[in-house]
Symmetry: C2
Subunit: 193 residues, 2 copies
């Protein structure tokens, strides 16, 4: 059976996005060219460049797509299991910041710090990611972030998650992280209820 052309094009695009994230996380920003990502995805360089003329376009699209997918997963899990405990909410958001997507994003953020053009591309993404992650945590905790104290604690939880992500970049920090998440969640639970 022939795959319709449009589906094939969409599948190629998704393979490129996934390969871009893996390449960034494992080989870093400088190594992540459209050519290398195409090879990793098993796509011709021409096809890759048809989808993404520049690596900035490829990488922005990859981060956008993976972030949305990750947030959708977190929301679906919660939908399936019903209300989560505070500790489960913290665990799940911390998981988002310790996976491959965070390691890929870190490469891009760090490159953008020394590159004003890239920074201008990345700032709107950063803002959108921050806003969305905040909303997801507020929903899952079932709290009202019109309360400034609550809002501060939700923000702090996301900053903590980001810091735990950074601590996991050079070695597996999962054992220490479990203790920190438990301590934080107990505190957050006491503060919110």
């Amino acid at each position: 059976m022939n795959e319709p052309k449009q589906d094939r094009s969409r599948a190629t695009r998704l393979r490129l996005l996934a390969a871009a994230i893996d390449t960034l996380a494992e080989q870093g920003w400088t190594a992540t060219t459209v050519g290398l990502v195409a090879t990793r995805a098993g796509v011709s360089r021409g096809a890759a460049q048809h989808h993404f003329p520049t690596r900035e376009e490829l990488i922005t699209a990859a981060l956008d797509h993976m972030f949305d997918r990750r947030m959708a997963e977190v929301r679906e899990q919660a939908g399936r299991t019903g209300p989560l405990s505070t500790e489960q909410v913290v665990e799940r958001i911390v998981d988002c910041y310790t996976g491959t997507m965070f390691k890929a994003a870190l490469q891009v953020w760090t490159a953008a710090a020394a590159d004003p053009e890239l920074r201008a591309r990345i700032l709107p993404l950063e803002e959108r990611f921050g806003r969305t992650a905040h909303r997801v945590v507020v929903e899952q905790l079932g709290v009202d972030d019109a309360d400034l104290r609550v809002r501060g604690l939700v923000q702090a939880t996301l900053d903590l998650a980001r810091g735990l992500g950074l601590a996991d970049v050079l070695h597996d920090d999962s054992k220490r992280r479990r203790a920190v998440v438990a301590a934080w969640a107990a505190q957050l639970e006491a503060a919110l209820r």
Copy 2:
């Protein structure tokens, strides 16, 4: 008056270390070569290479030196002013993670994530920095971290500081950060006292 040769050598070394941190923070890992740092420090490339044969040696020495200086400053400030409030302790440690040294370290950590040799050099630094920062916060809060709950809260404070540092890399995040620090400090104070 002639500067004694040893003092001159020491001054050259310190200029190179400071220039390495600034170059890393502003221009990123790839741009930070011994040659560029020497130019920025106003030191001949030969003299720079006499002190630091490779950029890995230069950069490791720079991070080591700046970290120790920063921690010494935090300790001295506390010594001058007497016991600090919980919020002041959190503010000061967060300041350490939002300055030029953190931005320089971030470049090195991120490069090390994709470079096993560099990672092997950086891991002992990461461990030492983590241990020292933990001890400084414990001292300044005047708490006993043999208590596992206290230890978890101190660790969480350092992870939060790291996350706030990362949020400050692409834009000035100081306004949002003040609210987050205040929210967490209030929580930490309630949890510790």
